[in-house]
């Protein structure tokens, strides 16, 4: 995605944002509330068409004007609310909208078989695929939602805050799942507020701030403090001050230790709003 602009009335949600993801790569998209993460993802998922800029897929410019377009290209999105039907079982949820049929009748055996295969590939722990989704835990529901996004064999999977409502153990399971998606060769876009999760699984971290790119880092050589600085727009912010107080030593991280991948000249260490 290059130079994406999106505005809602007078509100500029995205200004000249660049973003890309390759196959077998986990890119974390981070930013404060209202930074434009969700809007950017919705542009990619076809919920909101962009006002300006272009989207390239395999190097070819494409137009994504509806969720169906995105799905056809192979972009699957797992939204934060998961969008599962509580009254249906795991198999029915996984294949909802694209059920397998034989002679017009549902092919329950085929669907259940492939559900097991998919869940085993993800090493997911689901007690039974024939219980209603309502009886599953938060992590299991997240697993079902992610498995569902894989049914159409997408190239890119977008996960919107997959760990937001989960406990510690369940979060770890979802992080394992994300790594398995990478191993399967999917490009993964991970939206998250949780720096620990981002540092744990992401290959690359893209920071948005006030609807603009605000830095891009290799996850291997960046610290949470630096990311928080990029997100809030200041090295000296309430979060780092708090951490500094705890450790009783000043926040020593400096920008000099890490070079941003794409120094686009937009980073404002002083935190000034554009």
């Amino acid at each position: 995605m290059r130079g994406i602009d999106k505005h809602f009335g007078a509100v500029k949600a995205l200004t000249d944002v660049d973003f890309w993801v390759s196959e077998g790569e986990v890119v974390a998209l981070v930013g404060d509330n209202g930074a434009g993460k969700s809007t950017l993802v919705k542009v990619l998922a076809g919920v909101h068409p962009p006002d300006a800029g272009e989207i390239l897929f395999d190097g070819d410019p494409v137009h994504i004007t509806s969720p169906a377009d995105a799905q056809e290209l192979g972009i699957a999105t797992v939204f934060q609310d998961l969008a599962l039907c509580d009254n249906l079982d795991v198999v029915a949820n996984l294949w909802l909208g694209r059920e397998l049929t034989t002679e017009g009748r549902l092919d329950e055996v085929g669907m259940e078989q492939r559900t097991w295969a998919l869940l085993r590939e993800l090493a997911a722990k689901i007690p039974s695929v024939r219980t209603p989704v309502a009886s599953l835990s938060g992590g299991q529901r997240q697993t079902v939602a992610i498995a569902r996004s894989l049914v159409g064999e997408p190239r890119v999977v977008i996960l919107d805050e997959p760990t937001a409502a989960l406990g510690v153990a369940q979060t770890a399971e979802v992080l394992n799942l994300i790594e398995r998606l990478r191993e399967r060769g999917h490009g993964v876009v991970l939206i998250s507020h949780n720096m620990a999760d981002v540092m744990a699984v992401a290959d690359r971290v893209v920071v948005l701030r006030l609807g603009r790119n605000n830095g891009e880092y290799h996850a291997a050589d960046v610290t949470s403090e630096l990311l928080i600085a990029a997100i809030t727009g200041a090295v000296d912010n309430s979060v780092s001050r708090r951490q500094a107080l705890r450790r009783e030593e000043p926040a020593t991280t400096t920008d000099a230790t890490v070079t941003p991948l794409t120094p686009r000249g937009r980073r404002r260490p002083d935190g000034g709003a554009p």
């Binding site: 799905q71 939204f79 249906l88 909802l96 059920e99 017009g104 309502a134």
Partner: protein, 402 residues
Amino acid sequence: MSLDEPEREGVRAAAVRVWGRVRGGDLGALPVIVGLALIWTVFQILNPVFLSSRNLVDLTMQCAAIGTIALGIVVVLLLGEIDLSVGSVSGLAAAILAVAFVQLRWPLLVAVLIAVAAGCVVGILYGLLYTRFGLPSFVITLAGLLGFLGLQLWVLGDAGSINLPFDSWIVQFAQHAFLPDWASYALVVAATAAFAWTLAGRSRRRAAANLDSQSYRAIALRGALLLAVLLPAAWYLNQSRGVGVMFLLFLALVVLLHLALTRTRWGRAVYAVGGSVEAARRAGIRVERIYLSVFALCSSLAAVGGVLAAARLAAANQSSGAGDTNLNAIAAAVIGGASLFGGRGTAFAALLGVIVIQSISSGLTLLNLNSSVQFMVTGVVLVLAVTVDSLSRRTRVAAGRA
């Protein structure tokens, strides 16, 4: 129960599973069957005629029309919507049938088809109002209740009441068509065989696919249970006039709808929309089409019910479909176990529910109580049924099965 250790579920395991479901608040048909047993016992004690085969034959015949209407209500309830106008629509269909056949002298089959088609058009109209303008179905169909009652009166015109000739096939069908004894037994055996054959086929396919499956013993047991219910029932009805063909038509519609709901993509979509509209929409289901088809199906079934009622009465008049038709049909669906909250229930809810409703009505009539008591008792039973629905829903939430 995982793929790695496929197992054939035995009889004991099945019993344990069913008990676990009941404890988790997934009551299924249990409350209705218990309630029905209670109702039958009470009425039998009060009046020994109640469980006579003669009265039960009448009961089955009374069930057909209201049951068919309730079938439509079940589908609408599955979406979490409601249709309050089924009574008026059934009355309208009866009026159209009578006017077209008796006054305009059209062929009977044409008149029947036009009456049902009129119901379908009404449903499509509801569906369009719902999907295009987002009106609540409650309001649309409340307007329909009045509007189509007016249309029914207008169609009937000055006549007010039109009798259908007794020698027409539809009246013969509704009043005098009964299966010969041997045919009813043959049908019971054939139905049980088909049921067991389907289960065995599924079990074989699942075993071949390395999934856990039912053991043949469990299947045989279920088949035997079905036979043990149907065979004495047929025998008992045969002591009087026998199994009515109109009742069979209703049973066939129930089974047909059950298959459509459980074996087709359309049925899966109906449950999905009833569970979560937004999730269904994001899964690529054309939600508008589902709403449209369900409203059309409900009104069409209401029209079929109206035609059956007119045929049984051999007349269409200003009170066809009026009075308690509407609420009886809705009550039947709810009592049978179709949840008002959407996404839960089966086609068999209409069958069980209508038997309960008609049992109450028949029993109270036998006791010579007037309709005031009948209305009150039906009202109490409806509240009880919805309470069971609500409570079992709460238990399900507590047990994590919502």
